[in-house]
Amino acid sequence: MAEVKSAEFKKASGRALRDEKLQHSLEHVMEHFVGARASVIENDFGDENWEAMRTRAAAIKQSTLEHLDYYLDMVDRSVRRNGGHVYFADDAAQANAIVLDIAKRNGVKTVIKSKSMVSEEMGINHILEREGIEPVETDLGEYIIQLAGETPFHIIAPAMHKTRQEVSALFQEWLKTAPTQDIKRLCVYARDALREKFAAADMGISGANFVVAETGTVCLVTNEGNGRMTTSAPRIHVVLAGMEKIVPAVEDLALFLRLLPRSATGQRITSYNTFVGGPRAPSDEDGPEEFHLVLVDNGRLNLLRDEVMREALRCIRCGACLNHCPVYRKIGGHAYGWVYSGPIGAIVTPPMTNMKVARDLPYASTLCGTCKDVCPVKIDIPRLLLHLRHKVAEGALGERSTTWMERLFVGQWHGAMRNRKALEGKANLGRLLTRPFARGGKVRKLPFAPMVSGWTASRDFPAPAPRSFARLWREELAHDNAHPNGTEQG
């Protein structure tokens, strides 16, 4: 499985904040996605209809999850009926082994891949390379980050952090092309390089945006046509899909294919919607000879089993929550330390990987709630973040991981807040302790309190008022209650 570096969240986010180029790209790309989404929704549906569509999509996905065993079985039967093979993989290692086995059995040398986040979870490229099989990403963004040896920066725009200069440098190094700043030229270079691979590949690996249970159809949504090439040109087609990708019927796609591109990039429809029904039939002129669908768990059961977290599996990976998240918009995707970033990354990474390693992620949110408002399947992300925080603070031994400082703080707070006298005592102590640092009602620096000194590095902290409101009330305000117009209001 891809390495989980979420423990580095704080350091990595600091680096991103100081990277001016990155800040610039983030601002522009996010602004573009947000604007495009808002206007297409307003033009096409209006808030009310959009809301109704989201509600329906959430209900369809939720009910599929509630009966997932039933639908998994249906997918299995449908795909086999179409002449394909179905596998269930518990984790990344199993999934990798299944793919490797198919590749080896068929003497595969080159694999072309269209975008698949599950394959990122699996870290399959390294596994294939180790066995002497060349994996080539064919989504332009994925191709760029593959050359750079990085992980996706954004669910739908994996290389959005790369400038044209950086891409040109990568192409010069790997493809031996001439330097250029012209984006069209760069695309031509990539296209030339990839065409060769498309022609040579024996196996195509794709992800799946949706898997239709009733018909066994795999639906892919792409903008570059590489998905269509991957699924039709090579002899063998392998689909890697998270087991939550299922929708019951083809009709459901009518709804989801409206929601997904609009939420993601503000497009009405993506350039290519590809529907794959299995291997080539005797009457077909082309298409793969073999079709394999690998349904992957890899931590998803941890979400499914938890009644509160289950709804996270409704996610259709549109990226809207990233684009609208004030935190993601500042730190980008890599700081989250695994495959998924932004609000959705913060809720799925800890349960899917390791609660302790990813303990910072549920806290890496202001809980502003914008994600929940834009999510096309209405995942209540703030609620799920709070649920995970509860696990970090008070959960089972294997999940709990707060620092002694946090526990000390909460203990003190708990003591003070159940009793006004205790609170006033502590407040008086606070007044005494902060007095030497207060100037004109402000505290500019609090050196002895590590939890607060982060605050005062950039902001003044209000010095405690010389007397509490309760005292003010007792000593002055309470007596004014005989107001001339003092009527009861209720």
């Binding site: 202001t366 914008t370 925080r389 008070e394 909460v410 159940r418 500019r444 605050w455």
Partner: protein, 221 residues
């Protein structure tokens, strides 16, 4: 308090009150939060109406107590009863007292920051704007993206101060660009955060709670 009294509301301040428990709840320390929330219920249960000056506290009481006491039906019932009679300050004045003119007077351009919980948990958007509009001599000048988060997020601002400040920078920029002399918000957390940075940077804009603006009667600018 001054404003409510001016409206003829009989206001009391139960002296035993402390905190709604949100900070621990948001930290994940639910059992600790529940103790403090119960204290809150003890103190306020017998009041006729509870008016809260901060959007996030109001949303804690009205929305998140339901979650906190999910497995404790008895307290849940009490919490729901208190939640129902709890109103956020601006909502109370406009929708319970029924006025947007509290007889306040000041001067200048004022811009309004939509605090996240007020807007997205309680869906209160118009009431504070109506009240600002009702202040004589004051004009409301909307800033761009008034509904964008200021980066406070309670614990978040302490745990991740760098990210929090970077988000705040955007907010300060839009506040300054609005040309207003003051920014009003209905959340004490956001205000502490925004004010703290404006003062540190010597910005000549004042960050005030809506109640502070409404308390002005034009005599002291």
């Amino acid at each position: 308090m001054k404003v409510l009294r001016r409206l003829g509301v009989d206001v009391s301040f139960p002296e035993d009150q402390t905190c709604c428990g949100q900070i621990a709840f948001n930290g994940g320390f639910r059992s600790r939060a529940a103790d403090v929330a119960k204290h809150f219920l003890d103190v306020f249960e017998n009041e006729e109406q509870v008016v809260v000056p901060s959007g996030s506290c109001a949303s804690m009481i009205k929305v998140y107590y339901r979650e906190l006491f999910e497995d404790d039906p008895e307290t849940l019932e009490r919490a729901q009863a208190v939640g129902e009679k709890t109103r956020e300050f601006s909502d109370y004045i406009v929708n319970v007292v029924g006025t947007s003119d509290v007889g306040a007077a000041s001067e200048g351009l004022v811009t309004y920051h939509d605090a996240c919980h007020l807007l997205r948990e309680l869906r209160i958007k118009e009431a504070p704007r109506d009240l600002i509009g009702g202040v004589r001599g004051v004009e409301l000048q909307e800033m761009e993206n008034s509904d964008a988060c200021c980066g406070f997020g309670g614990l978040f601002s302490v745990k991740f101060p760098e990210i929090s400040t970077a988000i705040l920078d955007e907010k300060l920029k839009t506040i300054a660009e609005s040309g207003a002399g003051a920014v009003v918000a209905n959340d004490c957390g956001c205000l502490m955060h925004i004010r703290g940075a404006m003062e540190r940077r010597g910005m000549n804009i004042c960050a005030m709670h809506l109640a502070e603006l409404l308390a002005e009667d034009g005599t002291d600018g």
